[in-house]
Symmetry: D3
Subunit: 138 residues, 6 copies
Amino acid sequence: MVYLTRIEHFNAAHKLYNPSWTPEQNEQVFGKCANENWHGHNYELYVTIKGMPNPDTGFLFDVKKLSSIIQREVLEHLDHKNLNLDVPFMQGKMCSTEVLAIAIWDQLAPHLPEEVQLHCIKLYETPRIYVEYFGVTR
Amino acid sequence: MVYLTRIEHFNAAHKLYNPSWTPEQNEQVFGKCANENWHGHNYELYVTIKGMPNPDTGFLFDVKKLSSIIQREVLEHLDHKNLNLDVPFMQGKMCSTEVLAIAIWDQLAPHLPEEVQLHCIKLYETPRIYVEYFGVTR
Amino acid sequence: MVYLTRIEHFNAAHKLYNPSWTPEQNEQVFGKCANENWHGHNYELYVTIKGMPNPDTGFLFDVKKLSSIIQREVLEHLDHKNLNLDVPFMQGKMCSTEVLAIAIWDQLAPHLPEEVQLHCIKLYETPRIYVEYFGVTR
Amino acid sequence: MVYLTRIEHFNAAHKLYNPSWTPEQNEQVFGKCANENWHGHNYELYVTIKGMPNPDTGFLFDVKKLSSIIQREVLEHLDHKNLNLDVPFMQGKMCSTEVLAIAIWDQLAPHLPEEVQLHCIKLYETPRIYVEYFGVTR
Amino acid sequence: MVYLTRIEHFNAAHKLYNPSWTPEQNEQVFGKCANENWHGHNYELYVTIKGMPNPDTGFLFDVKKLSSIIQREVLEHLDHKNLNLDVPFMQGKMCSTEVLAIAIWDQLAPHLPEEVQLHCIKLYETPRIYVEYFGVTR
Amino acid sequence: MVYLTRIEHFNAAHKLYNPSWTPEQNEQVFGKCANENWHGHNYELYVTIKGMPNPDTGFLFDVKKLSSIIQREVLEHLDHKNLNLDVPFMQGKMCSTEVLAIAIWDQLAPHLPEEVQLHCIKLYETPRIYVEYFGVTR
């Protein structure tokens, strides 16, 4: 078993805001992250898959194909978007890095080929904060 | 003469949008950067000052004081903000990295003490794009 | 279950020195790391916690609060200090990165709230050397 | 149990090429990575060992000795080499990062002292692609 | 006047080898960099242009267009290639980073639009070695 | 004219302390950087030289030789040392990054061969603070 990681990048706007709370509650809990006019980040996304290398290619999976799948299923929906307003799979969810990492897993996992398993979604929100998610079965 | 650089960080939302153009023109020129719902970045800000070290301290200027001035005059206005909507010194300007770097210079330069000169504002918009501005006199 | 990591920074002096050995033994084992006049490092500290995100906030735990706890319980004692001389929780211990990582775990774990678990202390001593510690129960 | 990681660097040329296939098949599967005149990379190699720190030294293992073993058993054979042509332990193997990481494990593990266990070989091929291998027993 | 930098990446094989010398001379001068079977690198290419921002766009130059020009005029010829064998504009030249940086300048400069000037080609050969070239007029 | 930069690394202890002041004055000016028991840093040293590439080698100067000269004339005196106590060329000087960068220039410049000129000493004290020095003639 080997683990292969591809690192991708996207930029997005968001705010941390619970719509069932008052603005005052939101500001008390989320501080400047609740700015009603949004703020944003350069997100670094690490996608790790696991499996056995194919003896004919030496590949667990062709990393260019992995990158294309991430592009189509994830980045297309997130890059240069507003996470709260523009992203169908984030509707009705809090836009924290934790929730976004889980949503990226759920979005990506069904589109990977059978011979590989998604192992980890790691998501940097800033150079000093990141979240990792390993799926529900771990 | 020595050059001292302090690196700071801020997050912000913005869009590239010329309000005197139609939405179609904006999208044609700026592509996904014109997304009406905004996107955002982790900006890395390099502030370089120059001068002679003080023989009593060995300092060109106390970097903690430099950091405080940057915080008060620049980051307080930019961090976790919407560059198009929330920032007085960006009003009526295009929110490109080029224009933002010049605006940060103009905002910061008057607040530095006489014994130091501002030399360069360097601003990373993404890990692969940055702008440098050395003032009008160079 | 998600994992949230906050990266912090501190600077410190230390030496690798076993006081029950002769200076010659220390130099033989530790080489230039035993320099009696100390040397030092910029340490990068990765603190990883794990748990379930709170549905109201989307947070495993507020990363600003996590940062405050690390600051108060760990960095306050280590930053700009001499690890051998100034740090109560390193007294009588070897000042290796391995031992320091374990000591940081023991110092931090009791001060985290019940709903989160400390998962990993990762400590870079130089850009090319780091130690990870996952606690005694793993 | 603590984990200690040493990061090393080497440069090498390689191509992805299955000699039992036609050139057309190779180009179809590997694209420009199959360029018959080779291409190359700066590889970053992370070697992680695990064990208990020695109470006399505070060390899991002397990282300078670890670095010497990696140098002698691994880097000496890979640095500034052609992975397909020059490396005895890659003969008859596909030169993918997956296969190379496994080969480095097999090359290094027998030369580590008994008190430490090899835990992980992590190998960056580019700043955006890396492979991890934890041995056959995991 | 502002300066805008775009960072790009390519991988290539090369060797340092003067064909008018004997193999022994080459090995004496270039050491393992003269390995007849090649070695290779991940090159990081920083392209800096300078000029005045356009008041309608805020752009010195559209960085996506800059990236396309670099891709077409430079990376297309270098990425996943052998610098000594595959690159027309390196024929008959030594494949050092110094010479390659100058060749990239000569290759790129004629294809930039009139309103911008090429300011600097900066080329990392490894994370610890880079070359900068500012053209002949400076 | 091309510019070639080699990046080196050293670790050292120091304190910011003016011996002609009282301890109170030192603490007032330097804060925790004046800790009498020292603190320390991982310094990153960028040495930039300039000149014309040699047509026979393509080299401005052999970077391995440059590295050896830096090692012998600079790092040998600084690495794993106490900058205030152990370094002959820092005696009687304030141990700021500004002063250290100038001292490294003065230490290194006389030992470079005639065909190259020292252009810049750039010294990172932490990942967020660096100093550049270009010599007295600029």
